[in-house]
């Protein structure tokens, strides 16, 4: 898998990445992937990454870009209501 921009996060990232890849190919793609089994590993990695982003001054730039990307959700998450007015959505 790919490295993290923060070498100090590589180890936790690798553990998370392998967990995710296994879940993705063996469960998610087979329609059995509702439960997030890698959540705790992701939490460890995210904790490390958040600090690293802040230290490198990328956090602000990232949150701006993330806000922009939210706009794509409407198109790609099928969020726009397509059902009948009476339906609960």
């Amino acid at each position: 898998m790919s490295a993290s921009l923060a070498p100090e996060c590589n180890e936790v990232k690798e553990r998370y990445d392998s967990c995710f890849l296994k879940w993705y190919s063996e469960k998610y793609l087979r329609g059995k992937g509702t439960e997030d089994e890698c959540a705790s590993l992701f939490k460890d990695y995210k904790k490390c990454l958040t600090v690293a982003l802040k230290e490198r001054g990328i956090d602000q730039m990232l949150s701006e870009a993330r806000a922009d990307h939210k706009e794509s959700d409407e198109i790609h998450m099928r969020r726009k209501c397509e059902c009948l007015p009476a339906a609960d959505c």
Binding site: M1, A3, L5, L29, L62, D73, M77
Partner: protein, 191 residues
């Protein structure tokens, strides 16, 4: 604004392609060496649609032409945010990416879609809109856009070659894994 479009077919199933996509930028890919890191910023399965939404922060080595880097203010690395949507039901992967570095002068918006053509083939469609935002001088804007399109098409070619290598390795590793599991099962039966 300039538009870069590209399309190609991979002789692998959609499942293989969408899995390998997560490790596109790993050591097996010796072509896309401009990508030095890929971090996952957020990831969740939407309970309503079953769509897996992921945000990745991609860190690249600066490969812009020298004159352009000098103009924009030199940085050694650049960052891209990629938001992807996997819909396992309709078998579609959509990735939307934009540049974070130099975003006040240059806007690069890329969309990539992977969809199955058949059980063994997957189509890749890429579109990028490149807009120089620097005010005034049209000639300069054109030059900035041209240079970006050129770099984009170079990276697209390398990206395909690199991804092919990752797909091949993934298939090999997967079948070795499978053989190992089968061999273990046989051993158990014998014992």
């Amino acid at each position: 604004m300039k538009v870069f479009s590209n399309e190609c077919t991979f002789d692998y199933s959609w499942e293989e392609v969408s899995t390998a996509n997560w490790r596109k930028y790993c050591p097996w890919n010796d072509k896309s060496t401009h990508v030095i890191a890929v971090d996952i910023v957020s990831r969740q399965v939407d309970p309503a649609t079953g769509i897996l939404r992921t945000e990745r922060l991609i860190t690249c080595k600066q490969t812009a032409p020298k004159w352009l880097a000098a103009l924009m203010g030199g940085t050694e690395t650049s960052h891209v945010l990629e938001t992807s949507y996997v819909d396992p039901e309709s078998k579609k992967v959509t990735m939307v990416s934009s540049n974070m570095t130099w975003s006040n002068i240059l806007s690069v918006q890329e969309t990539v879609v992977y969809q199955p053509l058949s059980g063994t083939q997957t189509q890749f469609v890429q579109d990028a809109k490149i807009t120089a935002l620097c005010g005034g001088w049209q000639k300069l804007k054109n030059a900035v856009e041209e240079a970006t399109v050129t770099r984009f098409s170079e990276n697209a070619r390398k990206g395909k070659e690199g991804f092919e290598a990752v797909l091949e390795m993934s298939r090999r590793v997967f079948s070795e894994e499978k053989e190992k599991v089968q061999a273990q099962a046989q051993q158990k039966m014998v014992a």
